[in-house]
Symmetry: C2
């Protein structure tokens, strides 16, 4: 385990700038007959996002003693998948959201056809970005492609989004809600951490399995916290329409468990995550701080 040498804030600031620069380098110039598409791609990616997934990825690479520079293509890949999913989730036929991070969503700022194509193009760009991974072996990069695809597609994020949509207006059991979130948001968080491990070139299969258990715990905790925030915040703090889930009769942890039990659930998952890190000997790494940050955040 490589010890952290600066604060979580410093780590965020330094690496967010690097991630944003790497993303900017991948995005096309807004010129020529498809200037509108290219500009919209930038609008949806370079938008002051928190970069939670790339930061988790880098924290994993750091914890295992890998080279952060070499992990940047993988950082871009997970962030691009996340960005594409938000653009498509916001569409009128899906969640029909008009605000995202305090700004008009893509189909509002541009148009619906552009938003569909932006999402499509960002997904492609994610896989393209992965193939630029330097330092890692071809086998290792191919394993990253496989992992990212498994996490993003019908077995992961897309599948979870489908369950989410189909369950609107229905009562879910707690296990069903959990499965939905493990696929919808958990799979990409897990993939981010596994990609960070693969990019380090220093993780064996056992280490990756332990990191998966850690990732699943913080992924669920992140979602429970999201539901809590949706209940407790107002729109101006949130940068997106607050209370939307309850309004649309979407099952959430808070609606199923109540606010207090949901908070207890987040705490239990946090503890589980920390004990997984301990088992890996990574309890003093940045992953611990980052897990706490994700689970204790208020917006």
């Amino acid at each position: 385990m490589t010890p952290k040498t600066d604060s979580l804030d410093d780590f965020f600031q330094r690496n967010r700038a690097q991630i944003d620069q790497a993303l900017a380098n991948l995005l096309p110039e807004p010129e020529g007959p498809k200037a509108r598409l290219n500009e919209a791609m930038g609008y949806c990616v370079l938008n002051g996002g928190k970069r939670v997934r790339p930061l988790l990825l880098l924290a994993t690479t750091e914890a295992l003693g890998g080279d952060l520079q070499q992990a940047l293509p993988a950082c871009c890949a997970v962030e691009l998948i996340h960005a594409y999913s938000l653009v498509h989730d916001d569409l009128p036929a899906m969640d029909d959201d008009s605000l995202r991070r305090g700004k008009p969503t893509c189909h509002i700022a541009y148009d619906e056809a552009t938003a569909i194509l932006v999402g499509d193009g960002l997904q492609t760009l994610a896989f393209s970005a992965l193939t630029e991974s330097s330092g890692a072996s071809a086998e290792s990069v191919l394993q990253m492609v496989r992992e990212l695809a498994r996490a993003s597609g019908h077995q992961g994020m897309v599948g979870g989004q489908a369950i989410d949509i189909y369950s609107e207006g229905h009562t879910l059991k707690l296990e069903e809600l959990e499965r939905m979130h493990l696929e919808k948001t958990g799979a990409l968080i897990e993939a981010s951490i596994v990609l960070g491990a693969l990019a380090s070139g220093r993780a064996d299969a056992e280490c990756i399995e332990g990191l998966r258990r850690f990732a699943r715990a913080i992924g669920l905790a992140f979602q429970v916290r999201d539901d809590i925030i949706d209940v407790e915040s107002d729109t101006s703090v949130l940068g997106k329409t607050a209370g939307k889930d309850a309004e649309r009769n979407k099952p959430t942890y808070t609606s199923l468990l109540g606010l207090e039990q949901a908070k207890l659930k987040a705490l239990q998952l946090h503890n589980e995550a920390l004990s997984q890190l301990q088992a890996l000997g990574l309890q003093n790494s940045r992953l611990q701080d980052l897990a706490s940050f994700m689970i204790e955040r208020t917006h």
Copy 2:
């Protein structure tokens, strides 16, 4: 060059069945809470499609003496990208088509949210399929991922689709129309042929460049023929709404050049394709028959 040993019809029949089987094996079972998504994915892929791109891919592998079985994952990948693009192109905010191959389009048969997710999931599945390529080296598979991403994203298919949408109601110059088609449909045809060459394990850089020139010529010719068919056919033969391009004031080869000049253009591109094959010593391969089939088809 490996000589063909059966007729084009036999080649089609034998390999279409294999491609359809390989695609069916990749698709998820329609069960559980996302049964609707999974079923819709199958509906949009296992639909009696012509499989032009996988057949071009296999014809390339065959012409270079490669193993067709090992090329099947790449066949699935290009067909899945094609299938996803049709699902998204048919959406109300895009081409707003209700018929595809004589059947209701995905958002009509299911719903719009499902159609968006089906397209997203099929794109992911394409990259996932590539990673199952056996026989080829990891470097070679990674090159396939790179090639497929370049052809599918904002530099290729998605970019061409954007130009197509943004140019509706505008007059394009011939060069602009050509650029649009080279990206919208040509790039994936080119990638299919390059993936076939990579899967064979027997193509050097020079051979791949020659095949790219061949692919670009037949890709454009295929599109010119498509425009001609749209003018000459009626809906019952076409299996999709005929005359739609003219009705929506979309620029086409026939609207820019007139029907007769468009036919001459198809012929010239066909000749160029054949001379590229000759330069590669592949003039008696199945690629020649397939090029003729694509360019002379009437539906």
